[in-house]
């Protein structure tokens, strides 16, 4: 991808982050006039974490989607479709409601463990070079187990409000998160993205075939393990804070590869920028819900992302390979 295109995307992300801080616009000037101190608190402690969360969560979904698509040599692999997101939600719910961890750290740990188990299971079920059908079926099965496990854990949870609490969280929400929560999502996410970017040359070489990449001196066995672990850490921690947000990790990399002439590894950073832009935009869009209602952000990304997924499947079905 050309440098000026990176600049354009970076500016887009910054612009959306700025918009995220100021929208809804009309409320802020009034508040600054009436109580400047409170207005600053609203911006710094409510809107800033929200914008930053959208940015890092979108970015880690995009980057990890690109990385695992490159790893499985399949454009349909993404954190949500492989069951990693569902596993993370399950792990976080177990940590929060069954084991009684109240701290963001404990819940993040649960999310990471859940995502790691889901991805390990996927690798075991579908194998390293999964056919599309096997990959999707294994992902569906893992998501179903994780979903049922989550519902069961919430039903059996000691707290009678578990279902209600968890609904707002697991459907994907960036509202009212604290700065420590932001840190627990952002630090693992940024570390994972940095690691994926470092793996980009090796992931690109995987396009030549696993044996060829290995003969060129890339340690593919280790690469597979570490990319899965980095995905679990980045996505698992973010899900534990913001809930499950689907399809960004699928759409971002597919658009990014159009800009990198199909190179799967080189698409990682563009996919991160596109993922960040998409989630920021979605988070701004949900603010236009009717005043007394709130739309979970995960619902919005699914409404837009699922038809895209269908289009991708149809295109794979109709062409030799996408």
């Amino acid at each position: 991808m050309k440098p000026n295109l990176y600049l354009l995307f970076a500016l887009l992300v910054l612009g959306l982050a700025g918009a995220s801080l100021t929208i809804p616009l009309h409320a802020l000037p009034e508040l600054f006039a009436a109580d400047p101190e409170l207005a600053w608190i609203v911006v710094a402690e409510l809107r800033l974490p929200r914008a930053m969360l959208a940015l890092v969560y979108g970015a880690v979904l995009g980057a990890s989607g690109a990385a695992i698509q490159a790893l499985f040599a399949n454009p349909l692999a993404s954190p949500d479709i492989t069951g990693a997101t569902g596993g993370a939600a399950f792990g976080a719910v177990i940590a929060a409601y069954m084991l009684g961890f109240a701290s963001p750290f404990g819940i993040a740990l649960g999310g990471v463990a859940g995502a790691a188990i889901a991805l390990a299971l996927l690798l075991m079920l579908a194998g390293p070079r999964a056919e599309t059908a096997t990959l999707l079926l294994a992902g569906i099965a893992i998501s179903a187990i994780a979903g049922a496990g989550t519902a069961l854990a919430l039903a059996l949870a000691p707290s009678p409000f578990a279902f209600y609490d968890a609904y707002a969280w697991l459907m994907g929400s960036l509202v009212d998160r604290s700065l420590p929560q932001l840190a627990f999502a952002a630090i693992p996410a940024l570390a994972a993205i940095a690691y994926f970017a470092r793996c980009a040359p090796a992931l690109d070489r995987l396009a030549l075939g696993e044996d060829v990449a290995e003969a060129m001196g890339y340690d593919i066995v280790t690469l597979r393990r570490t990319v899965i672990i980095a995905t679990a850490i980045g996505v698992g921690a973010a899900v534990s804070v913001c809930g499950a947000v689907g399809f960004i990790g699928l759409v971002g990399p597919v658009i990014a590869r159009r800009l990198t002439a199909g190179h799967p590894g080189r698409a990682i950073l563009p996919a991160a920028l596109i993922g960040a832009a998409l989630l920021l935009a979605a988070d701004i869009a949900v603010r236009f819900a009717p005043p007394d209602r709130s739309v979970p952000i995960g619902v919005l990304t699914a409404i837009i992302g699922a038809p895209f997924f269908l289009w991708l499947v149809a295109r794979m079905r109709w062409s030799v390979r996408p």
């Binding site: 040599a73 040359p201 690109d204 070489r205 995987l206 396009a207 030549l208 075939g209 044996d211 060829v212 290995e214 003969a215 060129m216 001196g217 890339y218 340690d219 593919i220 066995v221 002439a261 199909g262 190179h263 799967p264 062409s319 030799v320 390979r321 996408p322």
Partner: protein
Amino acid sequence: MSARLVAKGVAIPNRLAPCDLAFDAGTVTMLVGPNGAGKTSLLHALAGLSGSTGSLVVDGERLAAMSPARRVRHIAFLGASREVRWPLKALDFIALGVPGDTGSGRVDAVLRSLDAKELAERRLDHLSTGERSRVMIARALAPQASALLLDEPCANLDPKWQLTILARLRAEADAGAAVIVSIHDLELARQHGDRVIAIDAGRIAADGPPEETLSEERVAAIFGVAREGERWVRV
């Protein structure tokens, strides 16, 4: 003559018994053997792929200690698969095989040398299997490595292209490379190899000049076929 590639005790558990081999500069070595005998395993072991054991020295240097950017100058590997993993352009695919290379014209040169200039801008998944084979061979040749390990480069090619590729590999050997190629066609192996290694049931059954390795008794013993006048028959 100097040894380009020296393999000591290379093996793959359950598939290839330990073997010591050395390959000289300027030679073309043909690997022959029945299906499943271990030709691909031997090539994997010589490339040091995961699952193989033993020590490999290329141009006097340990292969395992080389970084990817250095390794491609010493060893090139073409796997048996012609499957397309990502829909890249032929040009980009070949360029991926030459890390650290920016605009040296190698990619163009190798495409031209294989009469594949017109494939450069086309996507791999839009090519025929034969065209794809040519692009993948070009990818292996582009870094001008000192040892070439090619798994069935002649598979999927028409007779003219088989000869073109074999001539191209001979040119690589003349330029100083050690070329190691697995091949099913015993006639081509006899005519184009300086040395033929026959593999049977995971071990080296014969290693020597073509006329020795591919003598009538050996071919009958290893492949279960014999020449009867102009025809090959089962024995």
